[in-house]
Symmetry: C2
Subunit: 366 residues, 2 copies
């Protein structure tokens, strides 16, 4: 499994692994893929700095990337306290009422209630600045093209830029802005995603950006057959995320054991594409929490970044509570095949072996 | 491109083409695939009989199949006139008002107003009886497993039975009923479809039914790269539909030239999964008609078979009118790459050539 992207990044397999866990990212990079650390959870730049120090020291010199969340147009922005004044009282009382109905208690006195600030542009920019003081080979942006000056900043540091796209025209506009690599994020993916499924989206984006822009297939990829399918569709590599949430290494970050149980038992039908996580459509695990927001009397989700500020405290409370029925977490349709907790190296080895067996099989069909 | 299914059906390529047009079906079978004639449009069994006579005479002795629309549980059923008494007046006035607003005139005096009766179980059964008096090699059912006695009837005639499934558990239950071949119908497909995309659904169904039950990948397949991807996912063949709607041969059936224009200009984002066609979720071209049903003041679609009876006359009126903005037609997300009217043989040749090029490319990646 060797494409031009492997040369470009000095990696063995064109398997890119998005993860909020530095332990998963390091293990993927050590196993020959490219671990990409999600930065959105780092409110404190110093903590990201420290985590990247750890990554520098624990990847055996192998390359890694970082992922930020940054809209291309810089929004007018206040502090998180200012922004909270825009949240309607009805929304706040709906969240509180829902948590009560679902049996989720308040956090113990003194435990942190701060939301995730990484959705704020100024914080995402600080993530880029911190990251560039380390040795990432890639900065990926979950919201499409970053602002052009951020792309230039990365390029000056010799770092490539990848951006998610859910439609061919968005991919073309990312390339115009200077983005190097497009992540074709299909409908079946976890997190922010569009309506076009990978089977249609990947070749469409490959054709739209032309042969000089590598495309990573994303959405529905957790097995070697899916890696082979994505490369068959014209991708030069795959962008994976969900499949790492049930690895042994992820348990270092995940203190909510209910979440792992919820992933292990979920079928591919147990996800839902909804705006309740951030205000933009994102695929989440379908639970009593998402069902409550889908009820007829539920308020409409607020626009980004207000929705995440609204639910951030609820997320902390649900995580502390640990009920597998009451989870708020992005995950793709591939969750149906995430049925045991395994080390990252085993998942990587299976991806590669099944890919090779698949190409052998196709070779015989020809 | 040769799998066990080719031996089983005596075909050159495991490319199955669902189409309401006998001209398309014959051309696909002549070009080495398996043309599968959709029967739902035949209200008059004698007309189906005549059409199958034509197919028998125009396939150069090559095999073909038929497709019926039949729920597994036989519903209580009246005549179409009886059933119409269950349609609320508000629904009827909404349809009439919408057609007026969209500028669709009534049909000229004397033109047929009859709905599509193929959705009725008794009519679908007559399709099976007629078909078995010809030489189909396959009966496929768009609504999953047909009733067990219909499966037995087909088997006694030496005809294999295929059934659509949008979830692994449905596929398993089809197999228990005696269905021979599963069509894994992904979210991106046109017509009746579930929420799980092909990338996830196909391998899930392949694993669920085991190695002795062949699976056809369906949804998002219109190019050779997609055929290769589907076979990589474990399918033994592909089930295609939308891609034949812009063939030259289809124009024999399609008297609505606005429809072809609408397909040619549509992007992959211009479809919508909605219940407005039959009462069950089906992917249609997104037009002013589907948008009207999505408006806040629109009524909820009725259950099958009432919804199709409700809109059947509207479909006839829209087809006679020919406005590409006002179309009611199932089509998959692959419509974005259907950009010219071409002969069936050319589409087939491209599918095969691109498949082979894709396997060559994967071989080099390994």
């Amino acid at each position: 499994m060797h494409t031009d992207l492997c040369e470009r990044f000095g990696i063995q397999y064109p398997i890119f692994a998005f993860t909020p866990s530095e332990h998963v990212a390091a293990a993927v990079s050590r196993a020959g893929g490219l671990g990409v650390l999600g930065c959105v959870r780092f409110n404190d730049p110093a903590e990201l700095d420290k985590t990247l120090d750890w990554l520098d020291a624990n990847t055996d010199g192998k390359p890694y990337g970082v992922d930020v969340v940054m809209p291309m147009k810089v929004p007018t922005e206040g502090t998180s306290t200012d922004l909270k004044s825009y949240i309607p009282a009805d929304h706040i009382s709906f969240v509180e009422r829902t948590l009560q109905q679902l049996g989720v208690p308040p956090l113990p006195e003194g435990e942190g209630r701060e939301g995730v600030l990484g959705w704020l542009h100024s914080v995402a920019r600080s993530h880029v600045d911190i990251a560039l003081s380390h040795r990432p080979v890639l900065i990926a942006n979950a919201l499409g093209s970053p602002p052009v000056d951020v792309i230039n900043q990365a390029h000056e540091a010799g770092v490539l830029v990848a951006a998610l796209a859910g439609a061919a025209k968005h991919a073309q506009s990312h390339v115009t802005n200077g983005v190097d690599i497009i992540i074709a994020q299909g409908y079946e993916a976890g997190g922010h995603t569009g309506e076009i499924a990978s089977m249609v989206l990947t070749p469409e984006i490959v054709d739209a950006v032309g042969p000089n822009v590598p495309v990573l297939g994303a959405g529905g990829i957790g097995r070697g057959r899916q890696v082979a399918a994505s490369l068959a569709l014209g991708a030069q590599g795959v962008w994976t995320g969900s499949v790492w949430l049930t690895t042994a290494e992820y348990q270092n970050l995940n203190t909510n054991k209910g979440m792992t149980e919820a992933f292990l038992r979920a079928t591919s039908a147990d996800t839902v594409r909804t705006k309740v996580y951030t205000g933009k459509p994102a695929r989440l695990l379908k639970t009593k929490w998402t069902e409550a927001w889908a009820a007829e009397d539920a308020p409409s989700p607020l626009p980004m970044p207000l929705q995440n500020l609204l639910v951030a405290d609820a997320h902390n409370r649900m995580n502390a509570h640990g009920d597998p029925d009451v989870i708020s977490m992005p995950v793709g349709q591939i969750v149906g095949t995430m049925n045991e907790v395994r080390p990252v190296a085993d998942v990587m080895a299976d991806l590669v072996a099944e890919f090779e067996a698949t190409v052998d099989r196709l070779d015989k069909i020809r």
